[in-house]
């Protein structure tokens, strides 16, 4: 169990060290927390001197020292799980069933189990540190005179242990639901200490509130189900029940204020130490890293910025690389010079080419993703033969460009015409207004295999990997629609990829496939009427839109970096390396702009999600699409504002020129 690409140089040299530093700091903070805990656990305002001296005496006692050693171990394991489970791209379940799957995933089960046990361990430590009546599991029974001394169960201790396990479990579960493992990047950069200091208070408050809820929930849980573990422990260990004490699963037993206070304090202590370690890990990992732009040694080239941002794994490396690109493009003239520089033998702008190509590929990929999503949504989840769909991909890049947006409105009708009446009949109860119905397209929907297949990158298509030609890029949004209308016979004859046979198959589907399709629709219609199924497969509102933009922080940085570099090239680029790529950059951005604009016209896309304000429940990913939209506009304005008039000399299609003119007139 190690993070993805554990042998990558970056993970070895940077991430591990950052993790180690964060763990070291959280270990250093642990004695402070423990001392505070001990001090607060025996608070007595009436005898302050006795209280403080007693606490200090206790701090040096063997129980506290031993607990501290155990707690160090616990924090190490928690830190290991932080490293193992962190992610830079949040996973957003789009349906209830996906959420359920996420919770029941084996990986998550391990997480829960381990945290449950760690919670018990911490609870044992706190019980030992508080001492008194909580310390041991068994105690001598309060027996009447003459009877043989017997061991009784100390229910308080059991109560503590179970509470620890419960809190550990709820920590893991809530962490999953609130995406606590998501490492977000801050909008500004500050020193790590300042970040920590400014978030510490919020973390303390958050832990206290969470502990309060946990205590309440645990008390309810114990009130109803507490007898099961109690009798089990009694029977396994052969302990008796002390009948002279109140049972804890009764109201009288639970309304013991010192007990509740100590329980809350222990939960608070547990959550605080764990949350602090998460906080430190996040702060350390998301710290900006400065990559060299170029290196004079060939063995170091893999550590240079152009190489780093083109790597797929580990994800965090790509994020940090793009962040560094945005930073250097904005405020570091000497590093910008390196980007614009030419290679020494040969005089090629390798740095700029690599950076620009990678950023454009990222943006192009997002455009494609958005276009596909809209496409799928506009067809309302109707799946047409997948062979046809994949063929569209390969053929349509050759279809003429000016068969443009007006075709979009025709497509559903044409496509419906291709279908048999029977299939549309069955679809009737299912279809209708999109968005909220169960079978609207969805990344996770199990009912649209063709759809999911289309969403996945198709290695056979020319769109796989980075896009090389601006010519192809420009036609991106019109793919997949145009060829549906153009009769299959008259696809441009000179294109070798346009083999007409699969579209012919689409036109006259065989009887078997038709029958199969009908069955499928029938099953769908049947299932759609069951309430539970509906509930599970219902899309969570706007989740798919969030999932679409889950990694958009990368795109935001790519846009910022590119636009700043282009703007700076106006005065700093001595060799004109940026000029060559300017048309490509502009057309890519304009196409993305078009796709984003269209996306925001969809239902749910422009509504603002609820946000939590706490520092640990990071919900910045929910707003990334808004961030992307504004970053895109700002990037375009930055370029048009800098170049102004000169952009008229740039070659681009008439449609893009029209759009760009809007930006130049500040009318967008």
């Amino acid at each position: 169990m190690l993070p993805s690409a554990p042998n990558h140089w970056f993970v070895r040299k940077v991430i591990y060290w950052r993790w180690a530093a964060s763990v070291a700091w959280s270990l250093l903070l642990l004695p402070v927390c423990t001392a505070l805990f001990v001090l607060l656990s025996r608070v007595s305002l009436l005898h302050p001197i006795g209280w403080i001296s007693e606490s200090f005496g206790l701090l040096c006692g063997s129980y506290v020292i031993f607990s501290l050693v155990l707690l160090f171990g616990v924090l190490l394991v928690v830190g290991f799980f932080n490293l193992e489970y962190y992610t830079a791209v949040p996973s957003i379940p789009c349906t209830k069933i996906a959420l359920l799957g996420k919770v029941l995933h084996p990986r998550q089960c391990i997480h829960m189990l381990v945290h449950c046990m760690l919670g018990m361990l911490v609870a044992w430590c706190t019980a030992a540190m508080i001492g008194g009546r909580y310390r041991t599991l068994s105690c001598p029974c309060a027996v009447e005179e003459g009877a043989a001394p017997a061991a009784c169960l100390n229910e308080l201790h059991l109560f503590f242990l179970l509470a620890g396990g419960f809190v550990g479990y709820s920590y893991s579960l809530l962490g999953l639901l609130n995406n606590v493992n998501y490492v977000s990047f801050k909008i500004i950069q500050r020193h790590k200490y300042l970040w920590f200091r400014s978030s510490l208070l919020a973390v303390v408050r958050y832990s206290a509130v969470r502990a309060l809820y946990a205590v309440r929930n645990f008390c309810i849980f114990y009130y109803f189900l507490g007898y099961i573990p109690r009798t089990w422990i009694c029977s396994t260990l052969g302990l008796l029940r002390d009948s002279s004490l109140h049972r804890l699963d009764s109201l009288a037993g639970l309304l013991d204020l010192p007990l509740l206070y100590h329980l809350w304090l222990s939960c608070c202590f547990l959550l605080l130490t764990w949350h602090v370690s998460v906080l430190l890990f996040r702060i350390f990992v998301s710290e900006a890293y400065s990559f060299p732009v170029q290196s004079s040694f060939s063995e170091d080239t893999s550590q240079c910025l152009p190489k780093v941002i083109s790597e797929k794994e580990p994800m965090i490396l790509k994020f940090l690389g793009l962040q560094d690109l945005a930073v250097l493009a904005h405020n570091s003239p000497c590093r910008r010079q390196e980007v614009f520089s030419l290679s020494q033998p040969g005089g090629h702008p390798h740095n700029w080419n690599a950076i620009c190509t990678e950023c454009l590929a990222l943006l192009g990929e997002l455009t494609q993703r958005l276009v596909l999503y809209q496409e799928v949504l506009s067809s309302n989840g109707r799946s047409w033969p997948p062979s046809c769909g994949s063929d569209h991909k390969s053929t349509s890049s050759e279809t003429s460009e000016n068969s443009g947006t007006e075709e979009l409105s025709h497509t559903p009708r044409v496509r419906a015409g291709l279908k048999t009446p029977a299939s549309s009949l069955f679809r009737a109860p299912v279809g209708g207004a999109g968005g909220t119905l169960p079978f609207t397209p969805d990344l996770d929907s199990p009912f649209s295999p063709a759809v999911t297949r289309r969403m996945a990158p198709d290695p056979s298509s020319p769109w796989h990997g980075s896009v090389q030609s601006p010519h192809l890029m420009r036609r991106g949004p019109k793919l997949w629609t145009s060829s549906a209308e153009s009769p299959p016979g008259c696809v441009l004859p000179e294109s070798p990829a346009a083999v007409p046979s699969p579209p012919a198959g689409a036109q006259k589907p065989s009887f078997l496939s038709l029958w199969f399709q009908n069955r499928q629709e029938q099953v769908k219609g049947f299932l759609a009427k069951r309430v539970l199924i509906m509930y599970l497969f219902n899309k969570l509102p706007e989740a798919s839109s969030q999932a679409l933009f889950a990694d958009s922080q990368m795109h935001i940085w790519a846009l910022q970096g590119l636009s700043h570099l282009v703007a700076a090239s106006f005065t700093e680029d001595k060799f004109g390396v940026v000029q060559i790529t300017l048309p490509r950059i502009l057309s890519t951005m304009l196409m993305l702009q078009e796709a984003v604009d269209r996306h925001f016209k969809l239902p749910h896309a422009s509504s603002k999600p609820m946000r939590s304000t706490c520092c640990l429940e990071d919900s910045t990913f929910k707003m990334l699409r808004f961030g992307l939209r504004s970053a895109l506009k700002t990037a375009l304005y930055r370029i048009t504002g800098t170049f102004g008039q000169h952009l008229h000399a740039v070659q681009m299609s008439a449609e893009h020129r029209k759009r760009l003119q809007l930006f130049m007139d500040y009318k967008e």
Binding site: K186, I188, Q189, N331, H564, T620, G627, R629, Y637, Y666
Partner: protein, 518 residues
């Protein structure tokens, strides 16, 4: 060092300063007495009488309704919701239904709370002011509470401006369309400042009573009353009233400040999340000003201390030991020089920053001491109508985007008649040494006092100063000159100020402003 004694006397009474040409301010008897341009920014008039301010300063409309006897817990809950712990305690100590010990206890706690609070406010006396008074005290507008025009903002790239009126509505005037949208929002009250987002056509940030509003006004829309759905509300507990806002010049971040909050907020507007930048000391932040190159931010506090933040790692340096609080400040266009004034002193200070911040060790790269560059102490001028005294403390300053003209709004003395508020304009020169040279006074219609001023961000033929007057008039004073710093096309390869150059040609080659032949 310059002083007001070197200034030419103000124009005679009844005369209005119209424009500057050939190094001289020209005045006339009315705004119409010089030749109009193709599109003049409209000289607007909002008479004070037509505007109705919010009559009810308090938060709730409680007083308008009949007294209603709720149960105690309902009243307590309402008090808790309305005014927090102190309200709850007050409610409990005033009610008769609760046990006696609770009443007495809450009275004690309330007294203790007040005592602690009084200690706090004796350190920071501004905390005792009501929020409206706070805005009036720290706003850059002279006499904000009684001003017909409360805020004014030019769009940084186009000929478009927004005006906030006394009734808290915002109007937007555009050179290219005749529709003037009016923006109103339920929470848009006590507007203290406005600023358009740079590198954006539509976003306007508004500092309101207890939140920030960011309006998205579609420039192509024909609607005259955009719905409140076009506005984003950004608020943070404890961060009200907002008296100053500043957009990052590259349009990505928004800063906001409140005099009662020691933290200033860095907003990611699209993501609607904020990062508080907390520094103890000062008791709040009153004024924010972002250097045009984006590298530094001036943050003034209500006490005699201001800070200069550098924006790479967001560290700051303190400037304590002032005589009073920093009243206003403005940056030179290249962000290397800061001019500021201090309350209680009649001089302008300058700070010069040398290095690019953050490069060596995250310092702001600032100087060690501020130098006095102008003396604004009271000077008596004799006019045909009698003597007039000008000078004194400064309310606000504005530096034109090319760094050639500096406008200073002098407070004057409201008690005496012969000491009116006045706008003094300096010419600025940066080489061989930084220097302020006298240019002249800008005077409005008789009886009108200047309240607020701003330079047009990209005026082609010099600088354009927009002044809002106390009688509700908004006038524009052009200063025609050829900038020495601006490279002439053809002499050097690439211009450094693309905005100001593109302005002319953007509108299809039509000149917005031509030189006057006077």
């Amino acid at each position: 060092m310059n002083s007001l004694a070197l200034f030419p006397p103000p124009p005679p009474k009844g005369h209005i300063t119209l424009y500057e040409s050939n190094n001289q301010l020209v005045s006339g008897t009315s705004y119409d007495c010089y030749q109009k341009q193709e599109w003049d920014p409209p000289s607007l008039l909002f008479p004070r009488e037509t505007l109705k301010p919010h009559s009810r300063p308090e938060n709730t409309s409680k007083a308008a309704f009949l007294d209603h006897c709720d149960a105690l817990w309902m009243r307590s809950a309402a008090a808790w919701r309305d005014s927090g712990l102190s309200g709850l305690l007050e409610e409990i100590s005033n009610s008769s239904e609760v046990p006696r010990w609770l009443t007495v206890g809450s009275r004690w706690v309330l007294a203790l709370h007040r005592w602690v609070a009084s200690f706090h406010t004796s350190l920071f006396p501004h905390l005792t002011l009501s929020s409206e008074d706070l805005v009036a005290e720290f706003s850059q507008v002279l006499n904000w509470s009684d001003c017909a025009v409360r805020a004014f903002a030019w769009h940084p790239h186009t000929d478009k401006f927004a005006v906030t009126l006394l009734d808290d509505s915002i109007r937007i005037y555009n050179s290219k369309s005749s529709t003037a949208p009016t923006l109103k929002h339920r929470v848009q009250r006590n507007v203290a400042a406005m600023q358009w987002k740079p590198l954006c056509a539509s976003a306007l940030a508004v500092a309101c009573h207890n939140c920030l509003l960011v309006w998205h006004v579609d420039p192509t829309s024909l609607s005259t009353r955009p719905s409140s759905g076009c506005a984003q509300v950004l608020s943070h507990p404890g961060h009200s009233p907002v008296t100053s806002i500043a957009w990052c010049p590259n349009g990505s971040l928004l800063l906001s400040a409140s005099p009662v909050d020691t933290a200033m907020m860095v907003w990611d507007v699209a993501g609607e999340n904020c990062v508080p930048l907390q520094r103890v000391g000062g008791g709040g932040v009153t004024l924010l000003s972002w250097a045009p190159d984006g590298s530094r931010v001036l943050a003034a506090t209500p006490s005699s201390l201001f800070r200069i933040w550098e924006t790479r790692m967001w560290t700051c340096e303190h400037w304590p030991c002032l005589k009073g609080r920093c009243q206003t400040g403005c940056w030179s266009p290249d962000g290397s020089r800061l001019l500021f004034t201090v309350q209680g002193e009649m001089v302008i200070y300058a700070l010069t920053f040398s290095s690019v911040p953050g490069e060596p060790q995250g310092q702001t790269g600032g100087p060690k001491a501020a130098v006095i560059v102008a003396d604004l102490s009271e000077t008596t001028f004799s006019t045909p109508e009698g003597e007039i005294r000008l000078g004194g403390e400064v309310q606000s300053m504005a530096w034109d985007p090319q760094g050639e003209r500096l406008a200073v709004l002098l407070k004057g003395d409201p008690e005496t008649l012969d000491h009116p508020p006045m706008i003094a304009v300096f010419k600025t020169r940066t080489s061989p040494i930084f220097e302020l040279l006298p240019c002249g006074f800008v005077q409005g219609e008789s009886g009108a006092e200047p309240r607020l001023m701003q330079f047009h961000p990209n005026f082609a033929n010099g600088a354009l100063l927009t002044v809002c007057w106390s009688n509700g008039r908004i006038s524009h004073v052009p200063f025609y000159f050829v900038s020495v710093g601006r490279p002439l096309p053809g002499l050097r390869g690439s211009p450094t100020l693309p905005f100001s150059q593109n302005q002319v040609t953007e509108n299809g080659g039509r000149l917005l402003y031509t030189e006057l032949s006077s």
